[in-house]
Symmetry: C2
């Protein structure tokens, strides 16, 4: 199920995918068996690891990637394709194989996160769409995982919908959930993906009432005393008094959205305790990122709401994945490795296989076999799983499985791999060619 079930995804693509299709259908190269791989050349922003997210959305999008009458007519009318290509597209259905890192798994430079095999034609037309999804969703999941690591046992809530494109917001909530966020503010993410949703009130709610006390009483009447009251519309100390007066010492939580959060949280904790509201929680929001969360570790805070920096990737808004042809058939039917020969954009030709090498349950390297699987005389964990076989989507498990996978994979890293500071990847990438 996606957010817009009736729409073909086939035009969510760059025009050149279809002009390449057109030209290779004409000269016969369209049918050459090909392997495309998706990988990053580096981890942008000095990140120590990346978190894979979006694979499940890619499979949904491939299922909806059909060229109906409307799509074909548009392409013909705008001169993008010829009649032969139009006929090919009308029958198009991806019939190849896809392997990939499952969602929640970590990736490093060169990791073959998606391996797509089929004819050149059926693989090339997917390029733009699969890149869009993986580049976006993995950027959010990676930023989110850093925040979760900073937050320790304190729950984090995704609330960035208003800071990103309205549909990207739904995907961002999904990626954040994979990263370990406890809930989202986004209702469509709740409907589409079953992610828990939360939300209580904004400053406007207080301001539309004649007094803060009246607003708090109205919220408690509607949502019960376990709700979270936003106490910083006017004066925070007065807001806390009004909150406990309205909700009693059993009030669920208060939320702070401005000021020096560490200092204010300490003052509010003391005030709540003094009023007898010792179990009333304090949640904070206001331009938080992984660094701000880390700096608040010693403050008496019970949960974080994160918006802008999460949905914009906290400085790395896109993951840098590319989708490259690494092998294709020759006239004799033999698969040959291929690669662009640019100095500044290195690609390694040949089909890849990947394992995470471990010693004493600690990851030591991302080992990538070129042309065949790496030697397996170590405590290696296989990373590529079948996602599509002969065009048939495989079962990927639940988002809960992806959350658990992310948790386990992060805790397998050497301790230095969890650092927030910029630096080298947590483990090196090693290529093996037997």
């Amino acid at each position: 199920m996606g957010t817009h079930p009736d729409r073909s995804t086939a035009l969510l693509t760059d025009r050149y995918e279809l002009t390449m299709l057109h030209a290779t259908l004409a000269d016969g190269r369209a049918s050459r068996r090909s392997v495309f791989e998706m990988f990053t050349r580096r981890l942008s922003g000095g990140r120590r690891y990346g978190v894979v997210a979006g694979t499940g959305r890619i499979l949904e999008a491939i299922a909806d990637f059909r060229f109906g009458d409307d799509e074909v007519r548009f392409l013909r009318d705008s001169g993008v394709i010829d009649a032969t290509t139009a006929a090919w597209l009308a029958d198009f259905r991806f019939g190849g194989d896809i392997w990939g890192y499952p969602e929640g798994e970590l990736y490093f430079p060169g990791s073959p996160v998606l391996v797509v095999e089929g004819t050149f034609a059926e693989c090339v037309v997917l390029e733009t769409m699969v890149l869009s999804i993986l580049n976006h969703d993995s950027a959010i999941a990676t930023a989110g995982a850093r925040m979760i690591a900073s937050a320790g046992d304190r729950p984090c809530i995704e609330m960035g919908s208003r800071r990103t494109h309205e549909d990207a917001a739904v995907a961002a909530a999904r990626a954040a959930y994979i990263a370990g966020f406890a809930a989202t503010s986004n209702l469509e993410a709740g409907r589409t993906y079953g992610i828990p949703t939360t939300g209580t009130a904004a400053h406007a709610f207080t301001l539309v009432h004649d007094t803060e006390r009246e607003a708090f009483e109205a919220q408690i009447a509607a949502l019960g005393s376990d709700t979270t009251l936003l106490v910083d519309t006017y004066d925070i100390a007065e807001g806390v008094r009004n909150a406990i007066a309205a909700g009693g010492t059993g009030l669920g939580a208060v939320r702070l959205d401005s000021g020096d959060l560490a200092q204010v949280a300490a003052e509010v904790r003391a005030q709540l305790d003094g009023l007898g509201a010792t179990s009333t929680r304090i949640t904070v929001t206001s331009d938080l990122d992984e660094h701000a969360i880390a700096a608040l570790a010693v403050a008496p805070i019970d949960g974080y709401g994160v918006g802008t920096s999460l949905v914009t990737g906290s400085g790395v808004p896109t993951s840098g994945f590319v989708y490259k042809l690494v092998a294709r058939e020759d006239d004799g039917g033999t698969m040959v490795p291929v690669a662009k020969k640019s100095k500044d954009k290195i690609s390694v030709g040949g089909r890849k296989y990947a394992v995470r090498r471990r010693e004493n349950d600690v990851a030591t390297a991302e080992v990538i076999g070129i042309g065949e699987p790496p030697a397996t005389d170590h405590d290696d964990r296989e990373l590529l799983v079948p996602l599509v076989r002969d065009g048939v989507l495989q079962d990927l498990g639940t988002l809960g499985d992806a959350r658990a996978r992310r948790h386990a994979a992060l805790h397998e890293l050497p301790a230095t791999g969890l650092r927030l500071s910029k630096g080298d990847p947590a483990i090196p990438t090693q290529y093996e060619e037997r």
Copy 2:
């Protein structure tokens, strides 16, 4: 017309909008006449101006903002709303008034880019969605306008779809077109918004062929000799020779996607001229942003393709717009200004009006009247236009109109306002309260 016409947009929102609705329907405040305004507190990243984009998409999204059976059932089943709220939502249709800056117009700190007036209930439920759209689209348009200013007379093409969420990509192409981009690679943007699309071939196209020469001949056979050949898969000088051998001296263009673009472009220009291909253009792509484009001004380049940095806002991926209640009815029916009193998040209460003040056709200030229009004894240009009247969408003109508006508004700025460096807004914001 949108990219997914059959989908309600009503759940593209934060849960708290609906809990606020629920609580105010219960205590009667939902019906208070209210004014919400969308503005930014600052221009992030030291930008000199912002470019408004997304207004047209907001109006489409409001038209689709209906709570059908599926939406209401989800909200009831998840405990977000009660029966009274469910009944209200089933009948919901925005019936208020909206004024706003038209697309392509510039904005500055405090500019009331959208002014929404109606009952508290009907205004508050729109908050998340309108913020999502304007925050995203304006970030792209602002980055794009800086690139266009750097490119001078050379055309720029938007080709960032693969670097952002697949639906955000369509909106990004639209925003870039408003900013002055000549075309997009994104086919759905072509279909949905009528934006010109372009695209020829990637490195994979060359690699799937046995030789570069064979690939170029196939492309020319399919697309004609006015096409653009990508010449950097192997050796660039050899690629240029192959390109002219295949396409003749009337070849449309060659594309460079790697290396030191200034140096390589100079070498390729000399080689093309030496081969007699004096009218063959050179287009460049490869991690360009406004600064890289400015640095290439003296290189013999005929056009730019921009991807990552455009669709991610070139360092400013979201615009920082907030949506704040600034006035609401009291029990006597009088509209009273309201504002949050936080030290670090300043809001100015009261309904705003805005003009761009000019002297000798040069903009000198963004003048914002509080509660009533600014005094008009100057060469002022009105900035707010009616977008919705009593729930009826107004005609906003075409994307071409928005492009022309952006062009005119930028050229009205003082010369220092077009600087790429970080600094103060191009013109100051002045509040007037008579």
